[in-house]
């Protein structure tokens, strides 16, 4: 994780688990003693965004930024806080950018293009083979292309986060790994992480492309 570039852009389709990955990643950075900042740039979805966990994340030492109105609330307005530029400029910070949904949501990134110099950022694309739009190699590549074309940035790593929420099995992850491998070969982008629930991560084979990244479900209430 610490070998990743200081600025990590997290993209992925709705339901890919991008927000869970981004939140878990930001928390882990804080736990490693880094100055961790997460910017919720999702202007597409009205619910289940990282800003909802503002208080919990702040307590864990993560600086949470989102909209410019009141930070935590549930507004689907394209109003991003000016403070997002601060950790992008301040090199003491490790930044995670949690970007909303599809190419429409990713357009926000173009605003910060000046900070995304080649070699100074990582852009991770979260793949979930159980989602209709990214269940095939062609679908996944189309998704990556459409996002790259509006943001002007390049995906530098894939994250296999194939899941079925609490019903996720090892088979789900392995099927997603196959898909990710083929996308990786096709585009020449490495698989950086295999992200899955802690109880599934324990059962995965030891040797896999990409680092196994066990996650907790921060975004999903216990009754969901």
């Amino acid at each position: 994780m610490l070998k990743d570039k200081r600025i990590r852009i997290i993209i992925g389709h709705y339901g890919s688990g991008k927000t869970e990955f981004a939140v878990n990643y930001a928390v882990k950075l804080a736990e490693m003693g880094k100055k961790s900042a997460i910017a919720d740039l999702d202007i597409v979805n009205p619910y289940f965004r990282s800003r909802e966990k503002h208080d919990e994340l702040t307590e864990k030492g993560v600086w949470v930024m989102s909209n410019s109105l009141d930070g935590k609330s549930a507004l689907d307005l394209p109003a991003i806080s000016a403070s997002v530029a601060a950790p992008l400029q301040n090199k003491e910070y490790d930044v995670v950018l949690d970007v909303g949904g599809d190419a429409v949501g990713a357009r926000v990134l173009a605003r910060y293009k000046e900070y995304f110099k080649e070699g100074e950022y990582d852009m991770f694309c979260i793949l979930n083979a159980n989602r209709e739009q990214t269940s095939t190699v062609e679908g996944a590549i189309r998704h990556i292309d459409s996002i790259e074309s509006v943001t002007g940035t390049k995906v530098t790593g894939l994250v296999n986060n194939t899941h079925m929420l609490r019903e996720t099995t090892v088979e789900d992850v392995l099927r997603g790994q196959e898909l990710s491998k083929r996308v990786s070969e096709e585009l020449g982008i490495p698989i950086k992480y295999v992200s899955t629930l802690e109880n599934v991560a324990r059962l995965l084979p030891e040797k896999m492309d990409g680092e196994i990244f066990p996650i907790k479900l921060y975004m999903r209430e216990i009754w969901m």
Binding site: Y14, Y47, H163, E167, I222
Partner: protein, 354 residues
């Protein structure tokens, strides 16, 4: 069929198309925008049509027109948008036409918020439109049920020639869950020989209308549609009863809140308090008969809703027929009840009635 992961709002669209819906007319409003988004993308692929109307009032009247032509048609919106559609819904019921309407409820009154709520229970079950009409109302609690009841809604609408409402809330619309599209038995439905499809010179014109100026004629229509509502009350009631055996307190909750309430029931069990749940799946007709299953051990009922003073509680009172004391716990404005808060409210109620 294998399970796929879908967001509630997308799943509604996919289910409607599976059920043969080819036409969708709507106007955007959060938190249900993924429904029109999905339909706009998918309907042209199957030779159907999606129209983003200039308003909700226009959208429901487009639904009225398409339903009159005998095709499967749907609209969706969220609370204030559904409020705007009430006039059209009354007309559609009066003209005896089938259609499916989806409401992903948000906080009110007025424009309210974009967060989840259940404060359109009155609107859904009492109707905001004029006249003696009813709509069958399904209240799914998870995305799988949202799929199943959206598909069933089309059959029911055709069978009864009446609008059917699928009542979800913002959370279920936005929530991602594993689902499968089950092959269901085809319902035996009558020919749509009333549809305005052109006479081709072979028959008398069919007329779609809700205006009946002669009193005997209008009363006859009312008697006819009332007979349908009585049939629905007899045949279409669906509910779930959960852990009613030996329950000291019986919750009544629907939709997503029933899931939170089940969590509260588990917590109460850990404290040695037996609690059960009646979950109406059809809100109209309301499952009055479920209340006959309440055991003699029950000391109180409690309605749990995402509504400030409670709306379903009125139906709970009717079904209870004055037998047990009824408590209420609710949050509103987009606030979601927490399991522990329901536990505390239940303990307080039981303490008071012991």
């Amino acid at each position: 069929m294998a399970k796929v992961l879908m967001k509630g709002n997308e799943a509604v669209g996919a289910a409607a198309i599976k059920a043969g819906c080819k036409y969708f007319f709507g106007y955007p409003i959060t938190p249900q925008n993924e429904v029109p988004e999905y339909m706009s993308k998918e309907l042209p692929k199957i030779g159907g049509s999606f129209v983003q109307a200039e308003s909700e009032v226009a959208a429901i009247n487009m639904v009225y027109g398409a339903a009159g032509a005998g095709v499967r048609v749907m609209t969706s919106s969220s609370s204030p948008g559904i409020a705007l559609k009430q006039e059209g819904i009354s007309y559609i019921a009066g003209a005896e036409l089938p259609c499916v309407i989806v409401n992903m409820m948000r906080g009110g009154p007025g424009l309210g918020s974009i967060q989840s709520s259940q404060s359109d229970y009155f609107q859904a079950t009492r109707g905001g439109g004029n006249g003696d009409y009813r709509t069958l109302v399904y209240a799914p609690a998870n995305v799988q049920e949202l799929v199943d009841y959206t598909m069933k809604a089309f059959d029911m609408a055709d069978y009864y020639r009446n609008p059917v409402l699928v009542l979800g809330d913002g959370m279920i619309g936005q929530m991602m869950e594993p689902i499968e599209f089950k092959e269901t038995e085809k319902m035996d439905l009558p020919e749509k020989d009333w549809a305005t499809t052109g006479t081709k010179g072979a028959r008398k014109p069919n007329i779609v209308n809700s205006l009946r100026l002669q009193a005997p004629e209008l009363e006859a229509l009312n008697q006819k549609i009332e007979a349908k509502y009585m049939e629905m009350e007899e045949k279409e009631v669906i509910y779930e009863s959960y852990k009613l055996e030996d329950a000291e307190i019986v919750f009544v909750a629907y939709g997503t809140v029933s899931r939170i309430t089940k969590n509260a029931i588990d917590l109460l069990e850990q404290e040695g308090i037996k609690a059960g749940l009646i979950r109406p799946i059809t809100l109209w007709p309301f499952p009055n008969k479920a209340f006959a299953e309440i055991p003699a051990t029950a000391k109180a009922l409690m309605s749990v809703e995402m509504s400030q003073g409670g709306q379903m509680i009125d139906d709970v009172k009717i079904a209870n027929e004055g037998r047990l004391p009824i408590g209420f716990y609710g949050r509103s404005g987009g606030m979601v009840p927490a399991p522990q808060a329901i536990v505390e409210a239940a303990k307080e109620l039981l303490g008071g009635v012991k």
